[in-house]
Symmetry: C2
Subunit: 137 residues, 2 copies
């Protein structure tokens, strides 16, 4: 299904998704139009789900990166899910997981005040364990 060239294209687009088709073509030894057709195919079959940017969250004021293990108090997850949906500014990912906890919630906050406020709300619905990210190497 995917050959070496496709994987190379994915790799290059991961590193720089705004690369020109001509330049990407040079990297994978194809012409611009051939490369463009390959990329369109990868979009069409859903392997490329979208084009996005990496934002330095600290530089835009989100200095706290938290990962929170969520334990349900109740079998009904809906109140928790509804709460999370309202916190789009803070929530990066809300993973349902197998293992010790029920969810792993990845969030960003601009201050301890906002984090505290969030946890106050959260604790109405679930129990949690908080981890704060120090680095990512």
């Amino acid at each position: 299904m995917l050959d070496r060239t496709d994987l190379l294209i994915l790799d290059e687009l991961s590193k720089n998704s705004r690369i020109k088709m001509k330049e990407l073509g040079e990297k994978v030894h194809l012409t611009g139009p051939a490369t463009s057709a390959r990329v369109a195919k990868l979009e069409g079959n859903g392997i490329i789900q979208g084009y996005t940017i990496k934002i330095n969250q600290e530089k835009i004021g989100y200095t706290i990166h938290a990962i929170i293990q969520i334990y349900m108090k109740d079998t009904n997850h809906q109140p928790y899910q509804t709460f999370i949906k309202k916190q789009k500014d803070y929530v990066i990912n809300n993973y349902k997981v197998s293992g010790e906890s029920c969810y792993l919630l990845e969030c960003k906050f601009p201050s301890n005040e906002k984090l505290d406020e969030f946890l106050e709300g959260l604790s109405k619905y679930v129990s949690y364990k908080l981890s704060i990210v120090i680095n990512n190497k």
Copy 2:
């Protein structure tokens, strides 16, 4: 430092980083060159760290998404870090965290065999708790 227009630009580029500067300009009520200059500034000051793609990992054979809590057996983290550096194919993020565990390791695997192999290696250096991601809503 960042005004409303900058935040709008970041938002639009997050949704589609390959958008034309002219089209992005229309969304934020600027001309192409003005938009282009704003974006260049956001790149220059490091707020935009890079342009990338979202890849559907399942469609390229990575069906297992795991998050692993890491507990050090020893005060020396180096053997663990060295091991992780060798596992680039599988490791998405290796967060050093405060809280219960020392690290939160996010990984992807193409099969239970590869996951098992990885865990066998991992257990030489650290203790761990494994969570498998079911969904992300």
